[in-house]
Amino acid sequence: MSINFKQIEDKLKTEAKKLLEGGKVSIVLAYGKGYDEKHPMPYVARKMSDVENMVFNEFCTANMARYLVRYPRGTKIAIAVKPADSRAVIQLIQEEKIKREDLVILGIPVYGMKNFKTGETIDSKTTCGRYNPVIYDTLLGEEVHGQPVVSPYDVLAEYEKMDKDARWAFWKKELDRCIRCYACRKACPMCYCDPCFIDQNKPKWGEKSPESHGNLMYHLTRFHHLAGRCVDCGECSRACPVDIPLYLFHKKVAKECEEMFGQAAGMKIEDKPALVNFRVDDSDKILE
């Protein structure tokens, strides 16, 4: 079995038309033509005529949940979500940024997506490794079964094994490259603060110039802010012009949060984000 992208695209268009026509939603967040086939873009359909510009192929990696918070509260939105993206939607509902009843979720089961910059296949190494969306109203394609289930955290083993000095050397080298274009936070569906803490002058949390310590402060704090919230879509790393493997750190934090608090981000609408929650019987062992 393989993913029939064309079929998904057709179904996406049919659904989008239906939804827009019936006035059930005022916008459809999905994918549209880019400057060439390999470079599709996030696309917002507002009118019936927009639907023709929609596409879906293996390069449609963007997490459309990122755009949800851009529209006024109460806007009726249909959104196309891949597995990780659906978790972002759930997480945003948990955080009361959007309401479930304002959304029509068009689920897309996928594997074998490709990074449009490198052409590499995207798998559990850089994303959450799921094949089917966690939540949807309509599924644009067949549920994927029979694909190998790989833990999204397997990729961490190599880094966890490292000696702490080596790990520091690794992160220093990676983070030192950061040019502070903030594509990571802008591509992130969960980063919706405006202004971001690092943009502030009072307090000035970290240096604003792209040097080691400011970069470190920005990224570490961002990892913390996303603890228990990161849905492991991997968009931050794909957005990064200098290819910093931010996903590794996010995965590590997500893994630890899952182990400590027994809950993964964006899996259940009823959950409360782990870091603004507690259990009286949380063990002190988590501090050791």
């Binding site: 050397a169 220093k172 913390h224 590590k252 934090v253 782990a274 259990r279 949380d282 002190d284 501090l287």
Partner: protein
């Protein structure tokens, strides 16, 4: 000369800070490497305070709060426990020795525990040596092209 670490303490007003005062009132002796910031509750501690402290040259950071269940603000330290646990994991994955960051629940009546923890933690940080990874060098680094 023996390495004398700089240790930042962040203590909640109601338990650990009061406990530290009690250690003083009972004249318990402990190493003088600890410099305490008083906050109202351990939950006030923003993780970035800790990252920043290491950048500013802290060799260790000790956080003190009320025992879980005894928080002056009911549940503050229960949130703090989760947040600081994550802070710890982040520091560790970034390559900071976990022994440089510690959270202890010290009540207002535990002056002796305060003194013991400070003594023990100071010793531990001494063995780990100076913290150089996060520390910002005084000289601004070279321009980047």
């Amino acid at each position: 000369m023996e390495f004398e670490p700089k240790i930042l303490g962040i203590a909640c007003n109601w338990c650990t800070y009061t406990g530290a005062d009690l250690a003083g009132t009972t004249r318990l002796q402990y190493p003088q490497n600890l410099r305490v910031v008083r906050v109202m509750c351990s939950s006030r501690i923003n993780p970035s305070f800790i990252f920043r402290a290491f950048q500013l040259g802290a060799d260790g950071v000790l956080v003190g709060g009320c025992h879980p269940g005894d928080c002056h603000y009911n549940t503050g330290n229960l949130y703090a426990r989760r947040r600081l646990a994550v802070t710890r994991k982040i520091l560790e994955f970034a390559g900071i020795e976990p022994g440089r960051f510690r959270v202890e629940w010290i009540s207002a009546s535990e002056g002796n525990k305060f003194a013991e923890v400070v003594t023990e933690f100071t010793e531990q940080v001494k063995t780990l040596g100076p913290q150089t990874k996060f520390k910002i060098e005084q000289q601004p680094s070279l321009e980047k092209i």
